[in-house]
Amino acid sequence: MKKFLTNRDFILFAIIMIGLVAVGFANPLFVTPSSISDVLTDTSILIILALSQMIVILIRAIDLSVASNLALSGMLISLLSTVHPELPVYYFIALSCVIGTVLGVLNGVSIAILKVPFIVTTLGTLSIYRGLIYFVSDGKQVYSNEFSKDFLALIHYKFLSLSFLFWLAVAVFIIIYILLNHTRFGRNLYSLGGNPDAAKYIGINENKYIILAYSISGFFAGLCGYLWVARYSVASTQIAIGFELTVISACVVGGISVMGGVGTVLGCVLGALLIGLIRNALPAVDISQFWQLAISGAIILIAIIINTKTEQRKEKTIMVEN
């Protein structure tokens, strides 16, 4: 029981519940089922991206290019839909995922094959991908009336009065949970992040996993490219700008260690939910939107400090006599 109470994920869950109650007292309208369902819908994209970012962070890297990747994939399929509105929506989703994956593979190849450090690579592609949006769109926007009906309809589909987006996030959660906890791929990711040298000695191909991790991150960024454009019914050069920081803060709050190899899938989702709750609750308790950025920055710092303080992970060093 005590172990359960000191469990990080449980504490995070408790904080979310307490926050929900506190906001509820200040503004009862915020805790109605429909409002909470809105918060969940609003947080779904963040959950999906945080889960895929987690895979990258587990191997001691970061993907700063996700938001630009999302925006570029979203813009490309939006432009296509204005030219070919007759294509089925599944075609656009698949295409968006493919574009995202390609952009992710480029990151991975640059890091694994060209040996450009991840921070340099993803900072570089952050601006390259964002810059390419201007080129393909000429700086123009695609507005809601230019999309086909099908393109926008899927996102408004509801099941058990919860949105398509939410159910998609649940599906991604289950997939990533199984991937990380019940496959060899997941175990190898954790060991690569925990101790890259040891992992290499037991024959884990580091380059392969780097490229795979970035491809997965790119795949979901591409998927979210469609989701984002369809949800907000607009594609512009500015969409999701700076969102990579929100995604990383969700992971950090969720207890994914930037030192690699530590973190749970559930924690990651809870981290995203807490950030989503805060983003949605600020207007409900009359805090100006201008404070949002400062508050997310403060949350990242507090979370990272708590993480480092409580991380009981002892370095397992084996003395080798030469």
Binding site: I62, S110, I113, L114, K115, V116, P117, I119, V120, T121, L123, G124, T125, L126, S127, I128, R130, G131, L132, Y134, F135, G139, G242, L245, I248, S249, V252, V258, M259, S288, F290, W291, Q292, L293, A294, I295, S296, G297, A298, I300, L301, I304, I305, T308, K309
Partner: protein, 326 residues
């Protein structure tokens, strides 16, 4: 037992393999190409004015060079500019004396940098994640303070510094950069402080064992980086004569590009001020030339990103190929 010479014997050919030499060749070819493409490029006044495009970033690039050589990174510099510019505008609006305004602006930058340094050293957290946090914290503070308003009144001295020339020819910002570059090159390459920074970057643990106060150095370097961001903020605000919370957005990337393209290894331990200065001129002349050709700013962003990745990726790729051949 044979003596190991302190310095390897000088060979003319060795210069050819130096990073700084390669960078210099790139710079000269850019100058030649630019002057062939556009007749306006080699105009002395145009060239002098083009330094306004990069001098402020270049000032921060100098301290960033120290930070990166010491195996750290600071992504919050552009946000510190936003904070310091707000302090500059606010203290001016209160009617403070010019020197007090400038001191408080510099102080605000120093405090932001010290805040970074304190968290990084006190809690032993990687600087990349700390400065990702303070990047949004500082920028967010500027937003919550200014909201959608702006400052457009600054002391006369600040406006003069930002847009003025010494003797009518040399922009103050550029002059400041050149003087600072000489001082920084001296500190890094000729003093024991510089040697210690290199050894911290090469191996922080070993540096600690040899008695270097690694945490103290790290703290001071981040504080300096904040201080110089505030200095850049003074020049920038004076030049733009209007401060909004989104000022200098995305500059951290351009500044890091300047440093890394200049041959400073992103994981610390090697690099030189000369290389960084040449790379600053390369990037400056490149964007000036592309601007003359009416290439939009976005083109320059893509180009900078590509240059950043290829400048590291290409040499290491060649190296891998060579090793395979051997």
């Amino acid at each position: 037992m044979s003596m190991i010479p302190e310095k390897p014997p000088f060979k003319l050919l060795d210069i050819l393999y130096k990073k700084e030499f390669i960078l210099f060749v790139v710079l000269v070819s850019i100058l030649i190409i630019n002057s062939n493409i556009s007749p306006y490029f080699l105009d002395l006044y145009n060239l002098i004015d083009s330094t306004f495009l990069f001098s402020e970033k270049a000032i921060i690039a100098l301290t960033m060079t120290f930070v990166i050589i010491a195996r750290q990174i600071d992504l919050s510099v552009a946000s510190i500019i936003a904070v310091s510019s707000c302090v500059l505008g606010y203290t001016t609006s209160l009617g403070y004396d010019t020197w007090l305004v400038i001191s408080l602006t510099l102080l605000s930058g120093g405090i932001c940098g010290a805040f970074n340094g304190a968290i990084i050293t006190k809690f032993a957290i990687p600087s990349i994640i700390v400065t990702i946090g303070t990047m949004s914290l500082f920028r967010g503070l500027a937003y919550s303070f200014l909201e959608d308003s702006y400052y457009n009144k600054f002391p006369k001295l600040v406006s003069n510094l930002g847009g003025g020339y010494l003797f009518g020819y040399i922009p103050y910002a550029f002059l400041t950069f050149i003087i600072l570059a000489i001082i920084f090159a001296f500190i890094l390459h000729k003093t024991s402080v510089g040697k210690k920074i290199y050894s911290i970057g090469n191996n922080p643990d070993a540096a600690q064992y040899t008695g270097i106060a690694v945490d103290k150095y790290t703290f001071v370097l981040f504080t300096l980086n904040g201080l110089f961001s505030a200095l850049a903020a003074i020049f920038l605000s004076g030049r733009l004569s209007s401060v909004r919370p989104n000022i200098a957005f995305g500059w951290e990337l351009e500044i890091i590009t300047m440093v890394v393209l200049g041959g400073v290894y992103i994981y610390g331990g090697s690099g030189s001020i000369l290389g960084v200065v040449i790379s600053i001129f390369i990037l400056g002349m490149l964007s000036f030339g592309l601007g003359l050709l009416n290439v939009p700013g976005v083109g320059i962003i893509i180009f900078t990103g590509l240059l950043l990745i290829l400048s590291i990726g290409f040499p290491s790729f060649i190296q891998t190929l060579r090793r395979k051949n051997e």
